[in-house]
Symmetry: C2
Subunit: 288 residues, 2 copies
């Protein structure tokens, strides 16, 4: 049981964490801060936080657990702003979708307190953002990746593992580098592709007419293109080297399939499609 959660960033991710922590009876008091005062106030009125703080530093004052739920590019400035309130027993976590840059930002800004910081990435989200979409069940049943370094304190790492497990997550540990390589492939690249496809279609003279004819396949495929633009711009830039490597591999695979289509090589095209279809069906089965 924690005394006080200092929540920095009262959006979808932060708000959902606050709601889940409260329901689990794991925290007595939640003090929240968001860049926009009206957001912080809305979080208070909704009962997601108990007290609205006028600054990140004041949200952290007296907190034994701190959650950063801000765009990954704001990690360093936020940690610098709260560093003076951190004690060796504070547990600090983030929920960012990239981990290499976040770990580096934590090392630069927290210095001798960096051991308090347990980098976390819940594999959960929605294509809508904002406190009004906060959902007590957002994290339940989802994967949660922790990417500790050799500087991370074992006490905080154990606390973080226990906490997310109590919220119903399947907790996994890996290195920040392994995390960023994997999510470049299965998350960041799909987002980039979805953005590129929307823009490629919309830029054509007939683009809007084409879009008006799209069905449910397109709906699901492009859903992630509606995700929070600022957050995703940050993520794509933060993980640029892994993402660009994945995107290049993907373009090569796509081009190879285009060549089969141009050559009318139905046998090899069928084999490629079978392989992709089998991989997707096996993935679906393995995640059940």
């Amino acid at each position: 049981m924690f005394e006080q959660l200092g929540l920095i960033g009262c959006g979808l991710m932060g708000g959902s964490f606050a709601l889940a922590l409260k329901r689990a009876g794991l925290v007595k008091r939640i003090v929240g801060y968001s860049k926009s005062p009206s957001t912080t106030e809305m979080a208070r009125q909704m009962g997601v936080i108990d007290i609205a703080a006028p600054s990140a530093l004041l949200a952290v004052s007296g907190a034994d657990i701190v959650l950063l739920a801000v765009p990954v590019s704001a990690t360093e400035a936020t940690l610098k702003a709260i560093r003076h309130m951190i004690t060796p027993s504070t547990l600090i976590m983030d929920v960012g979708s990239t981990k290499g840059d976040v770990v580096e930002a934590a090392q630069r800004s927290l210095r001798d307190h960096v051991g308090c910081f347990v980098p976390a990435h819940p594999i959960a989200g929605k294509e809508v953002s904002g406190i009004e979409h906060a959902d007590v069940n957002l994290y339940f049943g989802k994967q949660l990746i922790l990417t500790p370094t050799e500087l991370t304190y074992t006490a905080q790492l154990a606390q973080a593992t226990e906490l997310w497990t109590a919220l119903g997550c399947k907790v996994t540990q890996m290195s920040p580098q392994a995390h960023d390589a994997a999510y470049a492939a299965v998350s960041h690249l799909p987002h980039l592709i979805a953005y590129a496809l929307m823009n490629s279609i919309a830029a054509q003279p007939e683009g809007n007419a084409y879009l008006s004819l799209a069905g449910s396949g397109f709906r699901d495929f492009s859903r992630i293109a509606a995700s929070d633009p600022q957050m995703w711009c940050d993520i794509l830039l933060a993980n640029h080297s892994e993402l660009l490597a994945q995107s290049k591999l993907f373009r090569q695979t796509l081009l190879a399939m285009e060549k089969l289509i141009a050559a009318g090589d139905s046998e090899q095209l069928q084999a490629d499609i079978n392989q992709a279809s089998t991989a997707r069906i096996n993935w679906q089965i393995s995640t059940k």
Copy 2:
């Protein structure tokens, strides 16, 4: 009210049409045929069809309405096989995802009866196939595109429009060429991309480990990669020229975004992502 539906192809699309036509009270008797006798028999046992025919020709014998629900590459051979049972008042339709090749196949195979053929494409489907997934509501509330030519009889075109409207579809007419250009962009390319992404990831040494970490964004994005491989191989080849043009445009857009990421141009990247996100959100609103 039709006397007899001759259903050729008792799969997801054909079976769902039969169920919907029956529920709407628009047909007295359904005679079905599938390439695999066990499928035809299962359709009969499920009550999707009333009589199992041993050949396409016998399914069409006595039918005043015929539905072809076979892979688009099988259109020509199927129409040739049934052509001797067609009378000037028969309504023949297909449900294929490409229209240019289907219209040409109909002209070659039906010759002086080609006016009976009304090319149709219901914008409905599932990532699963087969009669066991037939769904009486599959077409309800969906778009239905008719692509008549100057040879199509007005009587059959009116019948087709009335029939799909009665099944709850929003019926639109366009040329086969306009249809294929639009669906290359909003359906065939997304499928090709989904296949290429699955194969690009799975081909990496860590590919399966990466996939095991994927979340709900990946799930929805890649759902269409599980679609019927043979059907989709056919579609991609049938609409190759429009598809390859769309894929090239898409690769150029993707490459341009990669360059922004490599250059760290957050301003222009953010603008591109905003544009894509807005286009996706507007699309969602317009389809409600």
